[in-house]
């Protein structure tokens, strides 16, 4: 009744797919914020929004070429980080959390408002900005490409290639930064801000740099995902997305270079196989699990993911690749 090869094939497709890439990039940014610097940014999805929409609006509304649209998206991420950081980074850590989650919601609501329809597309969304990216694709859009039994649609494959390249470059950048004295200052700020001030470091500047850098990773994630989907819809950028990215980060291991990427891959792998499993187990005349309606599967898989996360926090709080002695989230 359970088709294990399909289960695995779906899982692997999800693990390598656009969503895993998107959340990996969001989580790489959150890793700089939270994992290394101890900044609580609960509005990472807002950075993805300004990245994606910055590019989309620059191309559609202002008629700029795509490459400069990408630049606009990145600069929008920088601007958002500065805007949020200047008033809040001198305050206690929780203020940043409140301000970022509010800002992300404000951005979503503005983007979807009727008055913005001409500019952002409103609730109808925004399309037609990424045609020149599609045209560069060496793959046949409509064709399926198969690797070891896992099938990818041609149009996805091109953005997957771009996405993992961007993830790889991001990881190299993060690796170079966190092993440098600059990264050491960030980790020290995470441990005790006052001690770092007493050692002559301008903590505000470092926190701002970290916020901008992590925000740019979020914006780049938004850009890559917008190029993949070829359409932008405001309600995709809702608060739970930030927390999925946090889940990925914590599952993988916060404060480790590869943590966010491994976490994101595992998150989407688990989400996909629980989905496929539950659908198979609840389908048909004589289902394996009779007490769950197949319509509830979408919600139940998130319940299972929540349970898995709680178990992980209890038994491996440092995440998959974390070091126990350096665990950031000490629940005890």
């Amino acid at each position: 009744m359970i088709d294990v090869p399909t289960l695995l094939a779906n899982g692997i497709a999800a693990l390598a797919g656009p969503s895993a890439i998107f959340f990996a990039l969001l989580a790489i940014g959150l890793n700089i914020h939270f994992g290394y610097t101890g900044l609580l940014n609960f509005g990472q999805i807002g950075f993805a929004l300004v990245g994606g929409y910055g590019m989309g609006i620059a191309v559609r509304y202002f008629g700029l070429p795509l490459w400069s649209g990408v630049l606009v998206g990145i600069l929008a991420g920088v601007a958002l980080a500065l805007l949020l950081g200047i008033p809040t980074l001198r305050l206690r850590a929780d203020y940043l959390a409140i301000v970022t989650i509010a800002a992300a919601e404000i951005l979503r609501l503005i983007t979807r408002s009727t008055s913005m329809t001409n500019f952002s597309g409103g609730t109808q969304g925004l399309t037609g900005y990424g045609g020149s990216f599609r045209q560069l694709s060496p793959f046949d859009d409509g064709r399926f490409y198969e690797f070891f039994g896992v099938r990818f649609l041609g149009q996805d494959l091109w953005s997957i290639c771009l996405g993992w390249t961007v993830v790889g470059l991001s990881l190299i950048l993060v690796f170079l930064l966190v092993r440098s004295p600059w990264g050491r200052v960030l980790k020290a700020i995470r441990e005790d801000e006052d001690a770092v001030k007493a050692l002559g470091k301008n903590v505000f500047v470092y926190k701002m740099q970290a916020l901008v850098l992590g925000g740019v990773f979020g914006a780049v994630g938004g850009i890559v995902f917008a190029l993949t989907t070829q359409s932008l819809t405001p309600d995709f950028y809702s608060p739970p997305q930030t927390f999925f990215a946090y889940t990925a980060l914590i599952v993988g291991g916060a404060g480790r270079v590869f943590g966010p990427v491994i976490g994101s891959m595992i998150f989407w792998f688990v989400l996909s196989i629980t989905d496929t499993f539950l659908r198979q187990a609840t389908a048909g005349r004589n289902p394996l699990i009779s007490f769950i309606d197949s319509q509830d599967v979408g919600a139940i898989r998130f319940v299972l993911v929540g349970v898995a996360l709680a178990l992980l926090m209890m038994f491996r709080p440092q995440g998959i690749v974390g070091k126990r002695s350096e665990v950031l989230l000490d629940a005890r």
Binding site: L173, L177, K187, K197, L199, G200, N202, L328
Partner: protein, 320 residues
């Protein structure tokens, strides 16, 4: 001309000077490194710090003592930029130091430690030390990516290991700072402060919470700082600790400097003893057969009780 300047004489032989300075609050020192004027800091209605004039002599170990709540740590926080005063200004070597942010104070050579040690627990002991090295190109975002900071890092590592050896922490260099004992953390904080090549070291209760076996070694390290030519100011509320190593002692109570002087003189100073033990410490206590106070003792008990009540009504914390 310079030879006649008493400062020049003092600087060459600081150990001779303490006896020549008047033992009174706000006394002028021959060569002060920190000079404080009319500094006040209030929390609500409470004047935590109210010091009219205070000088710290270069090259001395100055102990800052006083009972709990005397304003010692608040004064430290003000001087190092961690708190803002209501009024007042102060200078370091003639340069104004008031209104500077903590990191600016530290960069100018006035480095502090904390009462509750701030060893960066999830960094290694060596990284704690290297972090403190000033002017690192690799600490700038673009410097970290585009410059070769390796050579500077090696020099800093070398200096860090020398200091760790001096403080007997070299064998723990690669351990996380969180694994050190309380006393070792105090040593690490002191060693880390030295990485910044400071001129003035301000130690906030360096002996607090330290295993008595380590206290002597810590005191020797504090003395060694002075022998290296540094000025040391340290907060302590235990008189005995301070007596052994201080060249000069400043006594604070209720935010004010109530006495200054050589440590051996101060323990017989009436204002100091009163501040520590209360004004009635030498009065014989009398009780009746049931254990109730009588005579002068009854008056005293009534006074203490009304003071306590007043304190509670004003919302003060009695445990402080």
């Amino acid at each position: 001309m310079r030879d006649e300047d008493p400062r020049a004489v003092a600087a060459t032989d600081p150990a001779m000077v303490p006896g020549e300075v008047a033992a009174q609050p706000g006394a002028r020192k021959p060569d002060p490194v920190l000079v404080i004027d009319s500094i006040t800091r209030s929390f609500g209605g409470l004047r935590a710090v109210d010091v009219a004039h205070l000088e710290f002599q270069r090259g001395w170990i100055t102990g800052l003592i006083g009972p709990n709540g005397a304003g010692k740590t608040t004064l430290f926080n003000l001087l190092t930029g961690f708190d803002r005063p209501n009024t007042g200004h102060w200078t370091f070597d003639g340069m104004p130091l008031s209104r500077l942010a903590p990191h600016q104070v530290a960069r100018r050579g006035v480095v502090r430690t904390f009462q509750l040690t701030k060893a960066l627990a999830k960094l290694t002991v060596l990284d704690n030390m290297r972090l403190a090295a000033p002017k690192q190109t690799g600490e700038r975002l673009f410097g970290a990516l585009l410059s070769t900071w390796g050579q500077q890092e090696r020099a800093n590592t070398h200096q860090a290991m020398e200091l760790l050896t001096r403080f007997q922490l070299d064998t723990r260099a690669d351990d996380l700072a969180g694994s050190l004992s309380g006393g070792q953390r105090k040593l690490l904080e002191m060693a880390r402060a030295l990485m910044m090549d400071p001129r003035v070291v301000m130690l906030d209760e360096p002996m607090a919470g330290v295993n008595p076996a380590l206290t002597e070694s810590l005191l020797q390290h504090v003395k060694a700082l002075r022998d290296d030519g540094l000025t040391v100011v340290f907060v302590e509320h235990d008189m005995d600790v301070i007596r052994h190593i201080s060249d000069w002692v400043v006594v604070m109570a209720q935010g004010r400097v109530i006495a200054e002087g050589r440590p051996e003189v101060l323990s017989s100073n009436k204002a100091v003893v009163d501040a520590y033990l209360g004004a009635h410490h030498d009065q014989a206590l009398e009780f009746d057969a049931e254990g109730n106070p009588v005579g002068q003792t009854a008056v005293l008990v009534a006074e203490i009780e009304s003071e306590l009540e007043a304190a509670i009504e004003h919302g003060q914390d009695l445990s402080a």
